[in-house]
Structure formats: structure tokens, C-alpha cells
């Protein structure tokens, strides 16, 4: 268990997050992939904290937790508004901007 393994885990999680973001067509899955990407960023930050022997990346981990929670709340409320106006959550079918 050394630096390589932790960083490789972070990058594999980020690759799968980007794959979910690019291949799925449901807005809910896209929002969940953003959460997964933030989680992999946390793992990479903790690895950098071990590398630099410093606690400052841990503070950024703490900040990223709050940002992830706020992003989930605001994104889900926007999704509920979209579902109420367009009656769908597929990315291909949401084309109009002026109906809101």
C-alpha cells in the first residue's frame, strides 16, 4: 500500500465518473456521476496530503464535502423543476429555454 495504489484508485474512479457522465442520457445519473468525481478528487487530495506531510489538503477535503452536499441539493431541486416543466429527464428532449 503506497502512493501509487491510492492515486490509481482515484484515477479509476474518475474515469468511471467521466464515462457515466458521457454515456448516460438521464440527468439524474449525470448528477450522480458528479458526486463520484468529487469523491475521487477527495481521494487524490488525501494522497497529496500524505505526500507533502501537511494538513492543508485535508482542509480542502473538508471544503469539498460541503460543496458536494450543496451541489446535490441545488441540482436535485433544479431537476425537479425540469421534470415539472418538461415532463422528462432525458438530455436529448430538453431543448427549449423560454418555457421556464
Amino acid at each position: 500500500m503506497n502512493s501509487d495504489n491510492l492515486l490509481i484508485l482515484s484515477f479509476i474512479l474518475f474515469i468511471s465518473a467521466i464515462s457515466i457522465f458521457l454515456t448516460h442520457k438521464n440527468l439524474l445519473m449525470i448528477l450522480m456521476s458528479l458526486e463520484l468525481g468529487l469523491n475521487s478528487a477527495n481521494i487524490a487530495l488525501i494522497n497529496f496530503s500524505f505526500i507533502k506531510q501537511s494538513l492543508e489538503p485535508m482542509v480542502w477535503v473538508f471544503i469539498l464535502f460541503a460543496i458536494a452536499a450543496c451541489e446535490a441539493v441545488i441540482g436535485l431541486s433544479i431537476l425537479i423543476m425540469i421534470l415539472r416543466n418538461f415532463k422528462t429527464l432525458k438530455v436529448d428532449e430538453i431543448k427549449d429555454l423560454k418555457e421556464i
Binding site: M1, N2, D4, N5, L6, L7, I8, L9, F11, I12, L13, F14, I15, S16, I18, S19, I20, L22, T23, H24, K25, N26, L28, M29, L31, M32, S33, E35, L36, N39, N42, I46, N47, F50, I51, Q53, S54, L55, E56, V59, F62, F65, A66, I67, A68, A69, C70, A72, V73, I74, L76, S77, I78, L79, I80, M81, L83, R84, L89, K90
Partner: protein, 164 residues
């Protein structure tokens, strides 16, 4: 030795669950897989000696965010029938391109840094850094939480007014 085996086991669980989400059509099942990823990540943090970060990960990610997602899915009632096809040419091309690029980037980072495995987390030092150097960021987090609460209230209020 046992820590190495546990670390590889938890990492394997996280990777398998995150790949399972790519091929999954049902949002509820992918939310459960996402919970598995966050839980395995929290256990890895605790394995490294970062008990506070692991507990926060358990509480915020797997405790609140996944529960919010599942509740929103239930209120939307959309848990069936999306058309989704992973095995066409465009999706495979996107996956291979992103994977190659990020693997090259990760190899660069691995060659750049070396890691010294020893526990450095101290709660007192952490709070000292958080409340001295990063005090502005901390206050901005509180402002962000307030703004998100107000936005969620406004959206919910507009929906209730339309229902009346």
C-alpha cells in the same frame, strides 16, 4: 500485511461497484452501487488512520447525499425504462479515449511524487489551520449553505404554488 490485503480488497470493491454503474439502467440500483463506493472509500480513509475524514465521509456522502437521491427518485417516480446502449461505436470510442488520457496523466503524477506512509492527522493542528489560514473559505462555506437552503426553499415554494 493485513492492511495491504484490506486496502486492495476495498479498492477492488469500489472499482467493481463504480464500473457496475456504467452498465446499469435502473437509478435505484446505481444509487445502491454508489453507496457501496462511498462506503468502501470511507473504510479506506479509516484504514489509513484518518478517522475524522472517514466519519465525515460516512455521514455526508453515504448518509445524506444518497438518501436525498433515493428520496428524489421516489418523488419523481421515474425508476423504469430508459433506453441506454453502451455497446455502440461512439460510447466505446469515448471510453477508450478518456481512459488512455487519464492513465497517461496518472503515470505522470506517480513518477512525480513519492509517498511517505505515516499518520500525520492531528485534530488540533487541523482546526488551527482551518480557523487561521482558511477562515475566509470556512465563512464562504456557511454562505454557500445558506444560499442553497434559500434556493431549495424557493423552488419547492414555486412547485407548491403551482399545485394549488
Amino acid at each position: 500485511m493485513i492492511k495491504d490485503i484490506l486496502f486492495y480488497f476495498l479498492s477492488l470493491i469500489a472499482i467493481i461497484a463504480s464500473i457496475y454503474i456504467i452498465f446499469q439502467k435502473d437509478p435505484i440500483k446505481s444509487a445502491i452501487a454508489m453507496f457501496t463506493v462511498f462506503f468502501a472509500t470511507a473504510l479506506i480513509y479509516m484504514l489509513l488512520g484518518l478517522y475524522f475524514i472517514g466519519a465525515i465521509q460516512l455521514i455526508i456522502y453515504s448518509g445524506s447525499i444518497i438518501v436525498i437521491f433515493v428520496i428524489a427518485m421516489n418523488s419523481m417516480s421515474i425508476s423504469k425504462k430508459f433506453d441506454f446502449n453502451i455497446l455502440n461505436f461512439k460510447n466505446i470510442f469515448i471510453f477508450i479515449t478518456v481512459a488512455t488520457f487519464l492513465t497517461a496523466l496518472s503515470y505522470f503524477f506517480i513518477e512525480l511524487y513519492k509517498w511517505n506512509a505515516e499518520n500525520i492527522f492531528d485534530m488540533k493542528t487541523f482546526a488551527g489551520i482551518l480557523f487561521s489560514n482558511y477562515l475566509l473559505h470556512f465563512e464562504l462555506i456557511s454562505l454557500l449553505l445558506l444560499v442553497s437552503v434559500v434556493i431549495a426553499y424557493l423552488f419547492a415554494k414555486r412547485g407548491i404554488d403551482e399545485l394549488r
